[in-house]
Symmetry: D2
Subunit: 368 residues, 4 copies
């Protein structure tokens, strides 16, 4: 097997022309696409419709090429749109595909491996609870098997798309005599992201299954995965999982590495990722070097303490700009200074994804 | 002479308690204060009243200690408030003072030198014109002399506070039969900042006096100073100039260096400043190293091209968040990753201050 | 002929289900649709992608029902999305259609009449110039003829969708040695709206053709139409015109009336419209009365003077919320208080559409 | 006694020149000032520093005239700044003062009466609890007595300024082994406003003391006062109460009336207030009539249902503009259309102040 990952730009959230060109040029086999991530220029919060717009445009165009209905695509491709290109972040799509290929040669390093899986559909009252944690852990295990990644430590990034609660869904549960984890629909996004991240942590052996109590979801910041990136959306009721790791069962020129940022300005974490990838840390990458970066994936959030290394930040008290918008801009700047590129997939809402105020950073790169 | 520079935090824009503690503790002689810069948590745009609030609080508290009227303080101290702590920037004041001291010893490197000067009050119709350029150049020369800095190349940072046009001022000019450089009061801030920056460039020999045509102010991005930082405010009609450089006539442990960032992610420029200061470039500073940084001063702006190194940015098309707010967050992240601190004086509106999309960065540091 | 106008809600900008239900229920013949207006919940400014999202969703769904390609629909239906539901405004679509029907009976009042027309495609250098004014005036005349409206005074509302300049379009003109009316793409929206509104004013005889000088477009606030509502969009290069008036050639229960608001709180103008329509002015409409309102169409903008009846407003100095957003919220409140409904098509950007700070208000209502 | 109420404008939040002119002109005796309300142009949310700026400016100027220290003024004058002039609202101050005067003549209607009182300072753990409700009720009773208002039904408006929780205050309580009503400092503002409003309701007999359970504060929207307007601020730990009613013990030309708006577009409630005041309802007031309005005081909030009269509003899902900002703009428009003025004291955060989505509206007017 061989993993293909491409990063292409967009002129606006409905512009999928560069994704289609990848297909039409033969670089990406449309049947092999397993996931498309998009960094779109909305606010990344409740009323960010750039995500739905981009998803609608992608489905419409892909359905035409696949000769199927747009609605059926959710079963075969994970569409994960993350809104917010604050600071200098540049809107882009990341296309993940698989095609036939040999295993790694004996003298080759293991190559990038991709696997996918889904959970069953959740009931509203299961979202943000240990049931979602458990089901996600099982799906992550299935995706690891699908990726033919041998060991948990060879997994470097797990993207999960998870559902949220709406007024209607809460009412449906209530109609069956069930109460949901929250009645605040915005907060349900955090709980679903958090439960999903804890499921990743359990599957990867980062935390013990028994460590997750119902009350710890969204609350106990000491529990976290170093490799999870989770994102909630209204358009599904199940969790969709994409696993990226390395495996000798795969070949090709791509590889992946990750670290966790301890806070929003933890540049040394990025330096370690670069070193692992055989790229220089300690100066800005040259153009040739930065062109080896295929995807840069990071999570950002404001520290709940209200401080970064003892200095007050104003993200949480700003009623004009949402805190996650500040956090994405900041982390984007920290990464861009060293990488020399701004098309970075920095997303917000990092519940149980790295420590408070920090988050995972993973890079998929072409080997030298 | 000896220059004193302190950076202290604030709990909110009206909180000047830490500035007063510097005075009350005897670290700063209140009569020696020449300038107070403040990075306040407003939007940095038209309706940012955190600047006026902080200035009012400073004047009220300083007037009590100096036994004078708050209004009279503009004559002796430059108050330069810059709004906007986007991303992770931390609100803070920078207090600049002078006290008696010996010249540098023979075997000592030249120390930080501070000088100040003001222009005459401008007529509204002179703002944003070559007349303002010329008067600013003269004031900069006077401030350099005041600082006893021997050579233009020993000047590393010139902060200018300049006036803007209001509806009333434009009307007053019209009443005398004069027209102003613009009738757009917001745009007048850009023109005044731009003309002031060009005045600095002329004084420092960065551009020829003859290169400045009336139409080039605010338009010709090829003309710029590498050391100017200018800021417009409603509360004055003259330009107030603060020059920071190095001089053998001064002693003390402080020094200063600068570079110009070629674009918003030009981390190598910061690396060069650090190297000049004897600090390591190429890894994040340790806590001990970052404590040597007394003031970090940078300008930020969105590239007019709509791109950073070929990738689209969305700052200029964002009608929810002003472009300068994005730019400050971004540059703050680029700098904070390497410096390990977030109390950075990153300000927006960099007309003729560095190239399009870039800007000067200067650091005042304690010598090892 | 008979005009049909329906107002339906949307759950989000991509939700066109209620529009489709009108068609599927047989209330609206899909072939008869001449225009769909949408009030979507974006910011109504540059980066408002809710307009494109809604348009894409409408075209996709309508193309399926018409058995044609989505791209071809611009030729037969005017899609006019107006972003911004500030204050209490409620997102909704307005569907305008025509179907066969008798002329008004002898003893009947003239009924609502609808007509449409398009100009040729403009060259970039023609946008915002007298050429666009003239071509729009011709198209309005054609649409009036199409609507079989006998007299200019029987026209009550003219909606125009017009193009804007992009960086690429300006460059294309420059490549032919032509300069455009502005190089500021955002400002080009105002100039295109303004030129289009002046075209309406000329066609309706509200101003003389000779009164429009090139410099007056966007500048001379004394020139305006009392019946134009214009909106700029990136997706077309021609002007699309929808005329709504009354005519004896049409039958049906709908009629229309209009007035111009002299400022943003000119409630008496609304009272006059209601009186014309046979509805009570002077108290809030009852539910039964408000159900007779089919479409309420108004333009809103902040007074350039910075004042409303001598009291300072803060719309123009607010760098957090765009001035047009304030204006829509305000006018929406003024209208909603009397009408008792919030699904009002209040749109911003009223250059040459009513006097400075005011704008037209038109109501389509079912006769008692 | 005679009550004096003046409304004056401000050029910016630090501009108190018109308030001082009232004093310097002899219209307001500085010793008689009991309260100053300010509608300032901030965002009205957490980081709205226009309130602190205006308060600082007022205290500085008043202290100079009273020959006292600014800090001591909180004991004698209630400063209640409400941020947010969305839509067309015009920034202004309302000065409330008392001076000696006869009682009402036998044939005169009762005149405006003003009374003030304060509670003791609260402990952090008391804020947002029944203890605050009870203490507020006692203070309201004291203020009614101070105002010499004979009957509860003669009270028309009760303004309360109340404290909020900060991280430090919560920690202090925890240090004594006490937990606070919430650990969310922003939410503490809502709880404090809500408890204060319930205290007003109890004092006025609008609800029974026994109806207030701890859990109902901030939750049970069926419990509310029709005359309370409460506002939380960081600068005090007690509640300050201003009561406005009518009494035969007072003379002068001012009177007051109130109603409660059932939702944000309940214009009929305003009409009833006008009728009570002898002003015409049913058309916009003339300039002469609107000049009789001295103060218009209203509360605004978004309906939790997400709807206004069955139509979806977008206030609660808007992550760019805070919901209270939308609500103020909307209610401001509803009132301004009929009143013909925009200097309206519309404030947000109406917990237990009127029904869900609605709020009290009171007008102080000069008798004809």
């Amino acid at each position: 097997m061989e993993a293909l990952v491409y990063r292409v730009g967009m002129a606006h959230p409905g512009d999928v022309s560069e994704v289609m060109r990848l297909i039409d040029d033969g670089r990406v086999p449309v049947e092999g696409i397993v996931a498309i991530l998009g960094k779109t220029e909305g606010n990344g919060c409740v009323n960010d419709f750039t995500r739905g717009y981009a998803t609608q445009a992608l489905k419409q165009a892909l359905a035409a090429r696949l000769g199927t209905h747009p609605e059926s695509l959710d079963q075969r491709i994970a569409f994960v749109m993350s809104g917010g290109t604050e600071g200098g972040l540049s809107p882009h799509f990341l296309v993940f595909a698989r095609q036939a290929g040999p295993a790694a040669a004996v003298d080759e390093a293991p190559a990038l491996a991709l696997g996918a899986a889904v959970t069953r559909a959740f009931l509203p009252e299961e979202i943000g609870t240990p049931i979602q944690v458990e089901a996600t852990a099982e799906a992550v295990a299935a995706a690891i098997a699908d990726a033919r990644v041998a060991r948990p430590e060879d997994v470097h990034y797990v993207q999960v798309k998870c559902p949220l609660l709406t007024r209607e869904r809460i009412a449906a549960a209530a109609g069956r005599g069930k109460s949901c984890a929250t009645e605040d629909t915005y907060h349900s996004m955090a709980l679903s992201r958090g439960a999903s991240a804890l499921g990743v942590a359990v599957a990867l052996g980062e935390i013990a299954r028994s460590a997750v109590a119902p009350w710890s979801i969204g609350e106990d910041v000491a529990l976290y995965s170093r490799r999870a990136a989770t994102s909630a959306g209204i358009e599904l009721m199940h969790n969709a999982v994409l696993v990226a790791g390395v495996s000798r069962a795969w070949s090709g020129s791509l590889t992946i590495a990750h670290e966790v940022m301890g806070d929003a300005i933890d540049l040394p974490a990025l330096h370690r990722v670069l070193t692992t990838l055989g790229l220089p840390a300690g100066r800005q990458l040259t153009t040739a070097e930065s062109q080896r970066l295929v995807a840069v994936l990071a999570k950002a959030e404001p520290a709940r303490s209200g401080q970064i290394r003892g200095a007050r930040h104003t993200m949480l008290d700003d009623s004009d700009i949402n805190a996650t918008r500040h956090a994405r801009a900041l982390v984007g700047g920290v990464l861009a200074g060293t990488l020399g590129v701004t098309a970075l997939f920095v997303s917000g809402g990092a519940e149980h994804q790295g420590p408070d105020g920090g988050g995972p950073v993973a890079i998929i790169a072409r080997r030298a």
